[in-house]
């Protein structure tokens, strides 16, 4: 691969940083005008770069683009600071997509806070891009904190009581998570002397014969617990519904769509899925966590009365599927988890976009107050049902394929009972989503919503774009599977 192409990778960190600096140079009044081109431009460039990088990777048959400029030029022979691989680029693509949608939705929803929103979101993007790019655990932690901090600010963007409360809970739990992660990192560093991915991976492959197996084990548990808190895996999920529900509508999109996944699930996939595929202890532990998340999330969603809260619980449930797929320890489960990671970004963003549309038009997200909006908001209603069906895993939508892969992998690894529970819980997914769809969009229109307008153009554009991706990816998925099979990944 020509060296110039590795320059592409700089766009992921350099662009948001440069934009942030420029944005603040010219002052608030000027930049508010350029909010849309700047935000959307950065996200579009990021998506484009990610796609080009993915194509290049497969073209040149390389696993990762490794480079180590700027920092610590040569730690030791062969070491590097950044080493994005296919999964990283897929994550970067998701970040770009969800970021784009968030900017689109925030434009009409937050007319008075555009400047602040754009600033903090750029930091958030920077943090998430960093998570995807870095090649050592400590830098991962640093970018995780960058992401988390900007998320706290975004949740409390309006500084109202609700937002501050949600932000505070997230902050508290994140603090605990940070403590866990730092302790875990320290204990692992004690044994390895380095936190480079390849060093840690090599050590973990044979940790029982290392100098301090018990400390390593505790360190690993600490690390996993910290990541689980960030990811919102049950029983570490408490903060998640409150934070999602109290955040402003566009912030919910980026939180639910990508932030918790980059801050937690990404690391879990890296550590458990890539480095410890054969470890039965970790697999069983994550099997339990995954099943608990799936069932608890679905059950809680059924009883929720707020549209956004249902979506938040559904996120817990879907993250449970990703974790369950990882816990199978097989390449098939890994691929399924990664695809569910992508699909969940897409359909959960769609749903949050639609909830933002409903909230903007009706000023409420309480399910019992809404009713019969489909006639007034056909685009929103239709994209909503597509996203619901994709979440519930109905063919031929994208969500079906990733869930199918996960359930097959789980069946092979843990047997029929676990797979059966996972399947059964996806019936619950259909139950609560159909409930929401029926109460919010279907049925006779309520008197007070007779004059409701369809959402603004940019919101509609966002939901149509995401729905197209859901349907499109679902339709071409068999070819993607064939490609993966040809590459020998599954």
């Amino acid at each position: 691969m020509p060296d110039q192409f590795s320059m592409l990778v700089y766009s992921f960190l350099g662009l948001p940083l440069a934009a942030l600096v420029l944005f603040n140079l010219f002052g608030k009044r000027v930049m508010t005008k350029f909010y849309m081109p700047v935000g959307m431009g950065i996200c579009l460039v990021q998506m484009l770069s990610a796609i080009v990088s993915l194509v290049l990777l497969s073209q040149y048959n390389k696993d990762a683009i490794t480079f180590s400029q700027f920092w610590n030029y040569q730690l030791y022979e062969g070491a590097s600071y950044f080493s994005p691989d296919t999964f990283s680029f897929l994550s970067l693509l998701c970040i770009g997509l969800v970021g784009l949608v968030t900017f689109l939705v925030a434009y009409p929803v937050l007319p008075d806070r555009r400047f602040q929103f754009c600033n903090v979101t750029l930091v958030l993007l920077l943090g998430m891009n960093g998570i995807a790019l870095v090649y050592d655990l400590f830098s991962l932690y640093v970018f995780m904190e960058v992401t988390a901090l900007s998320a706290f600010v975004l949740i409390a963007l309006y500084r109202d009581a609700k937002g501050l409360e949600g932000s505070f809970k997230y902050l508290m739990m994140s603090a605990i998570a940070s403590a866990f992660i730092l302790t875990g990192l320290a204990l692992i560093f004690l044994n390895t002397g380095s936190l480079q991915y390849d060093v840690v991976q090599a050590y973990l492959a044979n940790w029982q014969n290392g100098p301090n197996p018990v400390l390593t084990q505790i360190g690993f548990i600490m690390l996993m617990s910290g990541f689980s808190i960030k990811a919102g895996v049950a029983p570490f999920h408490g903060w998640l519904p409150d934070a999602y529900q109290s955040a402003p509508a566009p912030v919910s999109i980026i939180l639910g769509g990508i932030v918790t996944k980059m801050a937690g699930v990404y690391a879990i996939i890296r550590l458990v899925g890539e480095w410890l595929p054969g470890s039965s202890v970790v697999n069983v532990a994550f099997m339990f966590l995954g099943l608990l998340s799936i069932v608890l999330g679905a059950m809680s969603a059924i009883g929720s009365t707020d549209f956004k809260r249902v979506l938040a619980f559904s996120s817990i449930s879907q993250i449970g599927y990703i974790v369950l797929g990882i816990s199978s320890g097989s390449p098939l489960g890994f691929v399924g988890a990664v695809f569910h990671f992508f699909n969940h970004s897409v359909f959960k963003s769609t749903l949050f976009v639609n909830s933002a549309a409903v909230e903007m038009q009706t000023k409420t997200t309480l399910i019992d107050k809404l009713g019969g909006l489909h006639k007034q908001m056909p685009v929103t209603g239709t994209s909503n049902i597509l996203a619901f069906l994709s979440t519930a895993g109905i063919p031929p939508l994208a969500g079906f394929w990733s869930k199918l892969l996960i359930i097959i992998a789980v069946w092979q690894a843990h047997g029929g009972v676990v797979a059966g529970v996972a399947l059964f819980a996806s019936i619950f997914t259909a139950v609560y989503f159909l409930m929401v769809q029926r109460k919010v969009f279907f049925g006779p229109c309520r008197e007070e919503w007779k004059d409701v307008q369809e959402a603004k153009f940019s919101i509609r554009l966002a939901s149509v774009l995401l729905s197209c991706i859901t349907v499109g990816v679902g339709c071409v998925f068999p070819w993607i599977l064939r490609f993966l099979g040809a590459q020998g990944w599954i």
């Binding site: 739990m173 808190i229 049950a234 408490g238 903060w239 202890v281 532990a285 809680s300 059924i302």
Partner: protein, 630 residues
């Protein structure tokens, strides 16, 4: 088209005649149905033409030898071809059927003159004729089943004509016949798979062992259901109340008996080897004897002419079944002879009831009396047929019954006694009927003027008298039918001659003694009560019998009622199971989910303290798990 007609004419009475027997009545039936209301006389002419053509063609069939027709139909490996065959057995039954259908059809035209549903009835009537021809001509069991089942639809249609609001009797007939046909279908499947072919002409009698027994029983039950033997009988008295009388005369009176007997004889003789004295033989004879005695017993106490006749329609089937069950040559010949005779006198008797009803508006024997002086020809026809059915020499019923007595006695004394009891009850009930209706003091229902009461019109009298006359002819010159019937069985009946005067004088004397007892019984009853209609009340209200009769009159013994009770119980159980499952889904499941959900919401109440507790419990869980799995 012209070529087709030309080839048909040039081939003369060829194999084309076979499907013509089915096509001509069907096509003319459609024309009759479509004929405008204003052209009633033309429609009637068309109807008569159809029946005359049918009769003429059936006579033409007699001239044919054994002849087969194959048309590709629902093909496949098993080869369900549209196979028809005419040979001496089907020839004779078709001739009888066509003859009876012509006469009853003539009667029906007159009877239905003022009814609103006449076109529909005539349509059904012709379709019935076509289907009966098809059933008798079919050489493929599946094709036969097709016609057989189609008859069920026509039967239902005819039953709901008179009384469209209350379809209970029609539904009852449909259910009972439907069950019988279902059994027949099962029997046909077994028979075809055992024989390896659905073609009847290819079949060799299968020995009765193993699965063959099941197939035999299913086939026989299907045939019994069509003939109206127990336990498929109970729709006939119910239908008699409302159905048009020509329907009663043609369907339960004649055609269904012909079809049922035809299939019974073929099953016992052609498809399976029914040995005399075998357990299957005994089973069928028991069914026959029970039908015979119980049908007769119920007929004995009826005071409504149509119901009385319909119970006799059941009772006479009993004789036929009993005779077939003996599996003896004399039994088969007796059964077929009785089948022919029954078709003649039973349809004629139903027609008499129709004639009385059309003149007086009722057939209840308690309301009419002494009609003989107003309707002498009806009375003569009825009495002739009554003598036939009671088995008085020299009428045909006497000769066929003597053959059956002979066969029954040869198989077992019990069956002979049952047959004699049946004969007694038949004679007693017809003595009552004729006495009550035609003799004694004149009694007419309200609104009927004595001066205006006339005998039935010629169009009604002609068929009745023709049938009654045939009864006498077949009695006096019984060689005519018996020689044909005997020829059917070939070497099986060779060496014996059943025509002429019965061989055993003892049996004849015993039969005559039974008739004498019936007459004495009638005289005693008449003497006690002073009324012909109450002549058998001393049996009806005898201690013990009275309770049984009351229960029977309330349908407690009706197999349909018992069956329906079982069905209702079954459906109730199914409903309970269904409700239970629904309850699990709709109530239990929802409540459990709701409960779990509300508990989870208690633990997700916004308290950071609680969330931390969750998180730490998660860490502890992970540590414990890792220790456990080490």
């Amino acid at each position: 088209m012209l070529d087709l007609i030309a080839s048909f004419i040039s081939s003369g009475l060829g194999v084309n005649l076979l499907y013509t027997m089915i096509v001509i009545p069907s096509v003319l039936a459609l024309l009759v149905l479509l004929m405008p209301k204003a052209k009633v006389s033309f429609r009637n002419l068309l109807f008569l033409l159809a029946l005359l053509l049918n009769a003429a063609l059936s006579l033409g069939l007699l001239k044919l030898d054994d002849m087969k027709l194959y048309l590709p139909w629902a093909g496949g490996e098993m080869g369900i071809n549209f196979a028809l065959r005419v040979y001496n057995f089907s020839q004779q039954i078709i001739v009888i059927a066509a003859f009876v259908a012509l006469l009853v059809g003539l009667f029906a035209l007159s009877y239905l003159r003022k009814k609103s549903y006449s076109s529909a009835f005539l349509f059904y009537y012709l379709i019935t004729v076509a289907l009966v021809n098809g059933s008798l001509l079919a050489n493929n069991l599946v094709v036969m089943l097709f016609f057989w089942e189609a008859l069920l639809a026509v039967l239902f249609g005819m039953l709901i004509l008179e009384n469209r609001n209350d379809t209970r009797a029609a539904v009852k007939a449909l259910v009972l016949n439907g069950i019988a046909d279902l059994l027949l279908m099962l029997g046909i499947i077994i028979t075809c798979s055992l024989a390896g072919t659905p073609l009847m002409s290819e079949m060799r009698p299968i020995p009765l062992e193993g699965v063959a027994v099941l197939g035999f029983i299913c086939m026989m039950l299907g045939a019994l259901g069509k003939a109206g033997a127990m336990p498929f009988h109970s729709w006939i008295p119910d239908a008699a109340k409302d159905a048009p009388l020509p329907f009663m005369a043609i369907m339960p009176g004649a055609l269904e008996k012909l079809l049922g007997t035809y299939l019974m004889v073929r099953t016992c003789f052609d498809f399976y080897q029914l040995a005399p004295g075998s357990s299957m033989s005994t089973l069928i004879m028991v069914i026959g004897a029970v039908t015979l005695v119980l049908g007769g017993a119920m007929a004995l106490i009826q005071k409504e002419m149509k119901k009385l006749l319909s119970f006799h329609a059941i009772s006479q089937v009993g004789y036929i079944v009993l005779a077939v069950g003996t599996a003896l040559p004399v039994g088969y010949v007796g059964a077929l002879f009785h089948m022919v005779n029954n078709a003649l006198f039973k349809s004629s008797l139903f027609l008499s009831a129709g004639a009385i009803e059309s003149r007086t508006g009722t057939t209840d024997l308690r309301e009419i009396s002494g009609l003989g002086r107003f309707m002498p020809l009806t009375a003569i026809s009825t009495i002739l047929c009554a003598l036939s059915i009671a088995g008085m020499p020299p009428f045909n019923g006497f000769f066929s019954k003597e053959l059956i007595f002979d066969a029954a006695l040869e198989t077992g004394m019990v069956f002979y006694i049952a047959a004699l009891v049946g004969a007694f009850m038949t004679a007693a009930s017809f003595l009552k009927l004729c006495h009550a209706a035609f003799f004694g003091p004149v009694k007419l229902p309200e609104g009927i003027n004595r001066e205006e009461l006339k005998d039935a019109p010629g169009a009604m009298l002609l068929p009745m008298l023709a049938l009654a006359g045939t009864c006498l002819l077949f009695g006096v010159y019984n060689k005519l039918p018996l020689s044909y019937i005997q020829a059917l069985f070939g070497s099986f009946t060779a060496g014996s001659d059943f025509s002429g005067w019965p061989h055993s004088m003892t049996l004849v004397l015993i039969s005559l003694a039974v008739l004498l007892v019936a007459v004495l019984n009638h005289l005693i009853g008449y003497h006690v009560t002073g009324q012909g209609v109450k002549a058998v009340d001393h049996i009806h209200y005898a201690p013990g019998l009275r309770t049984l009769y009351d229960a029977a009159e309330k349908h407690y013994f009706d197999p349909y009622r018992i069956f329906m009770a079982v069905v209702r119980l079954y459906s109730w159980i199914c409903l309970a199971i269904d409700r239970g499952i629904s309850w699990i889904y709709d109530v239990l499941f929802v409540n459990i989910v709701g409960f779990v959900s509300s508990v989870l919401h208690v633990f997700n109440n916004g308290s950071t303290r609680l969330y931390m507790a969750w998180a730490f419990s998660g860490v502890i869980f992970l540590i414990l798990l890792s220790m456990l799995l080490r």
